[in-house]
């Protein structure tokens, strides 16, 4: 990995550990010598020190880092008003939010194969700041795998995923850069909500005050000291969202956050995501439900079988895929078509002999037909739903499809 952060633990820790090990060995040697169990102390001493140093030294080397170029954390540029703050670091904990540094999520040619199965196939997209981006696809489309590759949990077979221009593995304190929730159930049941959040926070040097804040933000303060084994899925989702918000990061990634939440919880997540995006953050939310995303997301990335199917704004997708037409059946379809076209409607004949009419509503069509004495057998206003458009789009790429009802009879 090219961007491995160097000097992770500091050489001092490694040297100290090694020194303790060597000192312990030396103590044992001296003791053995006194007990007359060692005859040649100098020879033994070297053997002990060399043999102890090789495995433990190798371990220390692996753990404390091959010193690659350290990926330094660049502090957020202070706002113009705060730049002149004479107190500097010791500024009072003002409730002013520092501006969020915008960061893109970029995937290019992202591919992941598990043996013969291609889970993600040459996926390229960019997730922009300031928007809630919905990541849609049927079950098994590769949403979770993609997110895991973005978060460095899965090594791509080929292609790259970058956050703010660098791979996730190169970020030193990721919680300050990217908040994520992949699997709300991934908790140790024996720990309290507070202890879980604290352990996550401490690993990135985040203090206790912020843990309390995050718990309050997720509405979990009353259950902070309860063990998570007793939590409902909704409470676990809230705990996961609290963990994602710990570092106040400019990029947020949520995998199916609405699962298990009640109506109030879903509304809360919707408002939260919109608010986070409004603050200039990059918010990527996955879902397999179109209806939910249409209400939350500003932009949609739709995938199926690991391939990109659509990368559009929600309003474009809605406009292109929502139809309002009237289905008309008449034994004198040709005449009726002429009448309706003259009246300014667009008529497209259907396969089954019906007419799909846009531009006129049902009463107007009925009026025109009655005036000409044309019989009408059916007059049905149709509102194609977003869900249908989404199903049409992903139909050919659904991994698991149920047999059509009645097909077995």
């Amino acid at each position: 990995m090219p961007d491995r952060p160097g000097l992770l633990m500091g050489p001092a820790v490694g040297v100290t550990l090694l020194a303790v090990a060597v000192a312990f060995a030396a103590f044992c040697l001296v003791d053995l010598r006194r007990a007359r169990q060692v005859r040649y102390l100098p020879k033994w001493g070297w053997a002990v020190i060399v043999c102890l140093s090789i495995p433990w030294g190798g371990l220390a080397y692996l753990a404390f880092g091959r010193s690659g170029p350290a990926v330094a954390w660049t502090p957020p540029s202070p706002a113009a008003g705060e730049a002149a703050d004479p107190a500097g670091q010791r500024a009072p904990p003002a409730r002013r939010r520092p501006p969020v540094r915008p960061a893109l999520i970029e995937a290019s040619g992202l591919t992941k194969r598990f043996g013969p199965v291609t889970a993600v196939d040459g996926l390229s997209f960019a997730v922009r700041p300031g928007l809630v981006t919905g990541f849609l696809g049927p079950n098994g489309a590769g949403k979770t795998t993609t997110m895991r590759m973005i978060l460095g949990l899965e090594t791509p077979t080929s292609g790259t995923a970058l956050i703010g221009g660098r791979p996730y593995a190169g970020i030193v304190r990721p919680l300050y850069e990217v908040g994520s929730l992949l699997d709300a159930g991934a908790l140790h049941g024996g720990r309290t909500a507070w202890a879980h959040l604290l352990a996550v926070a401490q690993s990135n040097g985040i203090g206790r005050a912020r843990v309390t804040e995050a718990l309050a933000l997720a509405g979990l303060e009353p259950v902070a000291d309860r063990r998570v084994a007793g939590f409902s899925l909704g409470m676990k989702q809230r705990l996961g969202i609290a963990a994602a918000l710990l570092g106040d990061p400019p990029v947020l990634i949520f995998d199916e956050p609405a699962i298990g939440l009640d109506a109030e919880g879903i509304r809360w997540t919707r408002q939260l995501f919109t608010q986070l995006a409004a603050e200039g953050r990059t918010v990527l939310v996955s879902s397999h439900l179109m209806g939910e995303m249409a209400q939350t997301a500003d932009h949609l990335i739709i995938i199926g079988r690991g391939r990109l199917l659509a990368d559009v704004t929600t309003s474009q997708f809605v406009a292109a895929n929502t139809r309002h037409d009237v289905l008309v059946r008449s034994p004198r379809a040709a005449e009726l078509t002429g009448v309706l076209t003259t009246a300014g409607a667009t008529v497209s004949p259907q396969d089954d002999g019906g007419l799909a009419v846009t531009g006129l509503d049902a009463p107007a069509i009925a009026g025109l037909a009655a005036a000409r004495g044309l019989p009408v057998h059916e007059l049905t206003p149709r509102h194609g739903s977003l869900e249908e458009a989404y199903l049409d789009l992903t139909e050919n790429s659904t991994e698991y499809r149920s047999a059509p009802a009645g097909a077995t009879s």
């Binding site: 169990q37 043999c51 954390w73 030193v172 991934a186 908790l187």
Partner: protein, 265 residues
């Protein structure tokens, strides 16, 4: 809700604090450790009382002498639970999926391994030394009648007690390394028990000189050589045995460090 990163590098103390929170906030760990300590104390105390009450003093050399009598219950009641706790340190995270949260928070996986090993090893060392000194003092007091006990000032006694405490850290780290390699709780526990006990059991049934030739490189025999004041001549001398004892967790952790970045959680 302003959060400011403290600096440009991951600090060891952040990771250590995080792992310590995980270890100490899990109540089952403390209960298991306490139960193991009590059981060890009880069993060794009963054995010591029996030895102390016997007409014949224990032999000065041989497998059971005054010093090793302090640690009779160790192999079963202290080593087994502590090594399993070590294995669980990793496998509990893998089985719940929590490991993904951990690796997302700290993408440098070897640093996670090092921090977990440091915290688990230190906790096991502290608990082990405490248990070793308490069992030693208690059992030697019970055997003191008829000058059958030894004191810490006797040659080799302090070293034996210190080594007995160190042993718990060694088996905890062995379990932890195997947990990181195997990643499944049942498999990791089986492997830990295998490495600590079964290889030794196998050596006991091997024919003559091979039982000691191979057996001296196993954890229990090597541990016996450094804990007892009167090592067996057929096994390795205490200095080499100490190396064997330290090499087991070191090699296993080294293998874990290589694997942990190669396989995705």
């Amino acid at each position: 809700m302003t959060a400011t990163p403290p600096g440009p590098v991951i600090r060891a103390r952040d990771l250590l604090a995080s792992e310590w929170t995980k270890l100490s906030a899990t109540r089952s760990n403390a209960w298991t450790l306490a139960a193991a300590a009590l059981a060890t104390l009880a069993v060794t105390a009963i054995a010591a009382h029996a030895i102390g009450a016997a007409r014949v003093p224990p032999p000065a050399t041989g497998p059971v002498n005054s010093l090793t009598a302090s640690f009779l219950g160790y192999a079963e009641y202290a080593v087994l639970p502590v090594s399993i706790l070590g294995a669980l340190a990793f496998t509990s995270e893998y089985s719940t999926g929590l490991i993904r949260t951990t690796f997302t928070s700290v993408p440098h996986r070897r640093a996670v391994l090092a921090a977990k090993a440091a915290v688990t090893g230190a906790a096991a060392l502290a608990a082990g030394e405490a248990l070793a000194f308490v069992t030693f003092l208690l059992t030697q007091a019970l055997m003191a009648g008829g000058h059958r006990g030894v004191s810490l000032a006797d040659p080799g006694a302090l070293r034996g007690v210190l080594a007995a405490g160190l042993l718990l850290a060694v088996v905890a780290l062995t379990g932890l390394g195997l947990g990181a390699i195997i990643r499944h709780t049942a498999g990791a526990i089986a492997a830990t028990v295998g490495v600590i006990y079964l290889i030794t059991a196998l050596c006991l049934v091997l024919p003559g000189p091979w039982n000691t030739r191979i057996g001296r490189f196993t954890l229990p025999f090597a541990a016996f050589q450094i804990v007892t004041g009167h090592p067996q001549a057929s096994l390795l001398p205490p200095g080499e045995s100490l190396l064997v004892v330290l090499a087991w967790p070191a090699v296993i952790l080294l293998i874990a460090a290589v694997f942990i970045t190669r396989r995705d959680p």
